[in-house]
Amino acid sequence: MKEAQIYKDRRYRINELRAKNEKMTSRERCLKAINFEEPDRVPIDNWMVPEIKKRCMEYWGCENEEELLAFLGVDVRDNYGPSYVGQEFKTFDDGTVADLWGVRRKVVTYGKGTPHEGTFKEVAWSPLEHMTTVEEIESYESWPSPDWWDYSKVKAECAYWHPQYFVLNKGDRLDRTAQLKPMMYLRGIQQTFIDLIRNPEIVVCIRDHIVNYFVEYNPKVFEAGGGEIDMFMMGDDMGGQRGPLISVDMWRKYFGEAFRKYCDIAHKYGLKVMYHTCGDVYQLIPDFIANGLDMLQSVQPEATNMDIKRLKQEFGKDLSFQGGMSIQQVLPLGTTEDVRKMVQYAADSAKRGGGYIFGTAHNIQADTPIENVAALFEAYHEYGVY
């Protein structure tokens, strides 16, 4: 940590609040929260794009990411599972790079030359997009295999964070346990929406390949974790800004069974399940709960029916939550006072009886002023205390 006065001054408020409020380890805190007990304060999770992480490290005088997370009081540490030992991901002449599934991506820059410049890896080619039959899809040769991973270091990498921190096993965006998202990467978003109505047999075929991979892969990961994984996270995107992307009936038809399977596998290893989905999934929540979900992540506040107060009231007995902080509106465009009010509202609405972890609805984006990020974390410590 840099010790110049300017950094000490910036760090003061968070240090002061933490010294006053914290009475247990991060791991203890999170375990209480996910088991519907009240810890000392609401636990904190952190999702940030790399550009923001860098600016935060500069702002608070942290030398590296772990110093930043440790200073901010972030309780969750991400574990990405086993190491990839399959064939190297191919790079093509057009600059695209293939991933585990054969989907190709290229780096796209946004906000060139502005303070909010950043990059994103965008899908550039979906290998199954122009196929028209199940036979063609079955002939695709790049389905991944759980044998492409070395599981031997999972336990030690998780144990590294114990006893202090809470270890969340999750893939990164490109290989997180899911159904619809990988399907959209493989087949194209537009074609997938068309398939859901016009080509159900193709939906089922692609889905089964995806599900078969994850139901074989995850037990190997959990087994290798040797009890050192604290929670499992999977993620899909089922919500639009207003309403789910698909109807409840369609979700039940295509995705309910494997959702249940994914939860059952994690539960068999004693792991609760966190599920990321952007958007308004209010109509789907009863089905998520019925199929085994423990914690809903994102709780995107601008999405139509995702007010955290209402969700806690209606579902808080059976479902815990992570998220509720606005990265579309309040954090990038609001004042620091707006940010504080947002945190206070979420804390007041959701912290009673445990079952809540602070988090942003998605990654804090590069268009966010650093003052608002500072206000967010200071407010977490101010309003999260029990």
């Binding site: 820059t109 929406f193 068309i194 990038p332």
Partner: protein
């Protein structure tokens, strides 16, 4: 006519093949393309829009309805003078802003605007400000429609509106904006003429902006 109503139902239900075949048949019976657009396409798209607003239809249903409208338009176009609908509701230049490559919502808007009688020039994704400017001028567009899904890219909408002002043509074109991170407050902030939260409402907004 009951068969025009049937066509609107085919469009609403996304039955592209049936809609196309019926549109052919109706043209053969000398029903005008304008009537087919009004009572077949627009009626069908309005109906799916209504169901969408009531959470009875979702993105897949909107998508196939838009596609069914496209299939009907393919049949109608050769029958029109000059290869385009001879009486359009207006000209819309449309695209996803620079740095953003998302287009599913934009594509549904484009399909529904065309089905609603507009001439649509879709510039695709990652469209630089200069390209929007050029097309708006060249096409003498009535409306410029900007889309963004990724919140940091929406600031390019502000730059685009500023560029229209700098070019002296801001008052010659109406600007409408949409996409998940867009709301009325943002539209007001950047000086857009309108905002719509989804494709069906985008069509209504476009009609209002033309006036």
């Amino acid at each position: 006519m009951s068969t025009l109503k049937t066509l609107s139902e085919y469009v609403e239900q996304g039955k592209g093949k049936e809609a196309r075949a019926l549109a052919q048949k109706l043209l053969g019976e000398n029903i005008s393309a304008d009537r087919i657009v009004q009572e077949g396409l627009i009626a069908g798209l309005d109906a799916i829009g209504e169901r969408y607003s009531r959470f009875e239809a979702f993105v897949p249903e909107l998508m196939v309805a838009g596609m069914a409208a496209q299939e009907v338009l393919e049949v109608l176009r050769p029958k029109m003078t000059h290869g385009t609908l001879h009486k359009t509701s207006g000209t819309v230049v449309l695209g996803t802003v620079e740095g953003d490559v998302h287009d599913v919502g934009k594509n549904i808007v484009a399909m529904m605007l065309e089905g609603g009688g507009f001439k649509v020039i879709d510039l695709g994704v990652d469209v630089p400000v200069a390209k929007f400017l050029k097309e708006v001028k060249y096409q003498e567009a009535d409306i410029l429609a900007l889309s963004a899904l990724y919140s940091p890219t929406r600031l390019a909408m502000k730059e685009t509106i500023q560029a229209l002002k700098d070019e002296g043509i801001r008052d010659k074109v109406k600007v409408m904006v949409g996409g998940a991170p867009i709301d009325q407050a943002f539209a007001d902030l950047i000086g857009a003429d309108g905002y719509a939260p989804d494709a069906p409402q985008a069509v209504k907004l476009a009609k209002n902006l033309i006036g």
